[in-house]
């Protein structure tokens, strides 16, 4: 951690010069929080499945942008919402990101405006030496606005990358936001993505995270349902192989009455990879008529692969309808044999079963063209996977 604080102190002037006052004015408190918090050890509940310190230990070059490119007249919504939902004081990665980030992507939709087409963001990592990148995204949908955002992470070349991203999503009264996060990088990419969302009365949030390829991925998604009748739909799908590690950690907070939340995460864990899911549903006192459903289902394909799952439900209201559960299973032998008896070879049968397993999450995506595209990406992922040595069935 010291290397990041040292870098910040040494390069403070350059960092500030390449950024805007709004971001600069939050750096000191972020640095102080990071110094105080330190990187969370695996004894910290929310980080028990990922070794943060190890991921941040290597020496990465930290990307800085120069003063010429700076946009200082940020959209007015930035000063209202930047670093408001993101909890700098409680989370070291959020603090680190806030300390170093120079750029914020702002997507603002005015009240009542309905965007017909999704906004698509593609992040392509490319470097000649190990690189750290800190990204920031702010999505604001004012009352009654509607918006979909698709974000795809790609990487070019086999360099080591470390990415932090903090995403803040403000869903106004009766507004609707879809945020679809797709990671399709490679085994040398380490990614920490902290999402903080707040949904006002009658607002709807759909958040999905697909991990198709990567090295280490940690996605933390915090959703606060603050207004009556707010709704959150969280979807996740992780397809892991080799030494890959995917850790999805979610918190859905029911604060107001009559809010609804649905959460479905599915993992196909292959090779020697590890998957982790921890999903906490917190129903606050007074959040009556809460309806909440959480499910995590996992297919563990080899004896070397590991899956950790921890669905959590905490209820402090008495008139609620909540369910949570998880399953961890292996490839169904009877289904494999049935398919082989019909002439489908074992590798193909396994591929079909994996695709079938993931298809439930795809089917739940509300955006039809995205669903079709992801269907193809998932199929491609499983198929090219069959050709690689790491994926061969283990006995």
């Amino acid at each position: 951690m010291k290397q990041y604080l040292d870098f910040f102190r040494a390069e403070r002037q350059r960092i500030d010069a390449g950024s805007s006052p709004l971001l600069n004015q939050r750096r000191d408190e972020a640095a102080a929080a990071l110094e105080r918090l330190g990187f969370p050890s695996q004894r910290v509940e929310r980080y028990r499945y990922t070794d943060v310190a190890a991921a941040f230990a290597p020496n990465y070059g930290i990307q800085l942008q120069t003063a010429e490119k700076v946009v200082t007249d940020l959209h007015p919504s930035a000063s209202l919402y930047y670093a408001q939902l993101a909890d700098i004081q409680a989370d070291a990665i959020t603090a680190l990101n806030t300390m170093l980030v120079q750029d914020v992507t702002i997507i603002h939709v005015a009240a009542g405006e309905r965007k017909q087409h999704p906004v698509q963001i593609t992040n392509t990592l490319s470097a000649t030496a190990p690189l750290m990148q800190n990204r920031r995204l702010l999505i604001v949908a004012e009352a009654g606005a509607e918006l979909d955002v698709i974000m795809t992470d790609k990487a070019r070349g086999q360099q080591d990358f470390l990415t932090t991203q903090v995403t803040e999503i403000v869903v106004g009264e009766g507004a609707r936001v879809g945020f679809y996060d797709i990671e399709d990088t490679h085994e040398h990419c380490h990614r920490f993505h902290q999402v903080f969302a707040r949904v006002a009365s009658g607002g709807k949030l759909t958040h999905s995270v697909f991990t198709l390829a990567g090295g280490l991925s940690r996605n933390q998604t915090d959703v606060a349902l603050v207004g009556q009748g707010a709704d959150a739909n969280l979807l996740g799908c992780a397809i892991t192989i080799g030494q890959q590690h995917v850790d999805n950690n979610t918190l859905i907070e029911h604060i107001s009455p009559a809010c609804t939340s649905h959460e479905l995460y599915k993992y196909v864990v292959d090779g020697s990879s590890t998957g982790a899911f921890a999903g906490r549903i917190l129903v606050r006192e007074g959040a009556q008529q809460t309806v909440s459903e959480e499910r995590n289902a996992n297919l563990v394909c080899t004896n070397q692969a590991r899956m950790w799952t921890q669905p959590m439900l905490e209820i402090y209201a008495d008139d609620v309808q909540c369910s949570h559960g998880s399953t961890v299973g292996q490839m169904a032998d009877d289904a494999l044999f049935y398919m082989r008896q019909r002439g489908i070879n074992e590798a193909e049968a396994r591929t079909l079963l994996k695709q079938a397993f993931a298809s439930e999450v795809l089917g739940a995506l509300p955006l039809e063209p995205l669903r079709q595209r992801l269907q193809a990406m998932v199929e491609h992922r499983f198929r090219s996977c069959e050709d690689c040595q790491l994926c061969k069935p283990h006995d």
Partner: protein, 248 residues
């Protein structure tokens, strides 16, 4: 031609088949009868190559090839079809994708190009009608939510698609009412050619009223203890198995 010689097989170290000898010639229908636990389903599983069973002794050749040396999918390509006693549900895999993968795998094995989408769907439509399988079922996931009768019809439908030369019907009659039994059996009979042979595993004469066997075998404790013509099935229907047990 199928030739089984002195076949012994175990599961979890327990011997179930204790020396089976059986020859099935092209076009012949063999009925295999016996009580629960006699080894009938084990024989069908071993012939299909179920990985849970270990063959400890004996040999099986099919059309001159060593069947036991082949993985299950190759046995399928060589013309062996097992109609499962309990067809497996595969959520998320549509019947169409499943059948396309199966049929094109066989065509590849035969050195043929995959079937064009339109030709494949036309074939599906034609073959579906033979067992009166609803179009809706064909568009659903494999066997998911099918009734018992629909699952058995779906087995015969798959047989119609794959055109096997040796069919093993493992208690295809179980769980079927008379109408469903007739549809399934008539479907099978329509699909038969003079070269198609079959091993029909059943407890009862009922199925054999529709699929008439040339030869009937009785399996007790992992061995075939009696082989005779169709009259043997009638005799079992009337007198049960005890008289055979007493005589061996």
């Amino acid at each position: 031609m199928l030739e089984i010689k002195n076949l012994h097989a175990t599961i979890d170290g327990k011997e179930i088949l204790k020396g089976i000898d059986l020859v099935v010639r092209p076009g012949e229908i063999h009925a295999l009868m016996g009580q629960n636990g006699a080894g009938k389903s084990t024989l069908s599983a071993v012939l299909a190559g179920h990985p849970a069973y270990t063959v400890t002794e004996g040999s099986v050749t099919y059309n001159g090839k060593d069947l036991l040396a082949m993985p299950p999918e190759e046995r399928s390509h060589e013309g062996l079809f097992l109609s499962f006693q309990q067809p497996v549900e595969i959520p998320g895999v549509s019947m169409v994708n499943f059948m396309r993968a199966a049929l094109n795998a066989k065509r590849k094995y035969q050195g043929l190009e995959p079937l064009e989408a339109a030709a494949f769907l036309k074939l599906m439509r034609e073959r579906r009608k033979i067992v009166e399988l609803d179009n809706k079922l064909a568009s659903r996931s494999v066997n998911e939510g099918f009734s018992g009768g629909e699952k058995k019809r779906n087995e015969i439908f798959q047989m119609a698609m794959l055109e096997p030369t040796l069919c093993i019907l493992d208690e295809t009659d179980s769980g079927l009412d008379v109408d469903a039994l007739r549809i399934v059996a008539e479907g099978f009979n329509r699909l038969r050619t003079s070269e198609t042979s079959a091993i029909v595993i059943t407890h009862y004469q009922r199925l054999l009223d529709y699929i008439k066997p040339d030869i009937v075998h009785v399996l007790i404790d992992g061995r075939i203890v009696r082989t005779a013509g169709p009259e043997l099935a009638m005799q079992i229907e009337q007198q049960g198995f005890d008289w055979i047990k007493e005589s061996v």
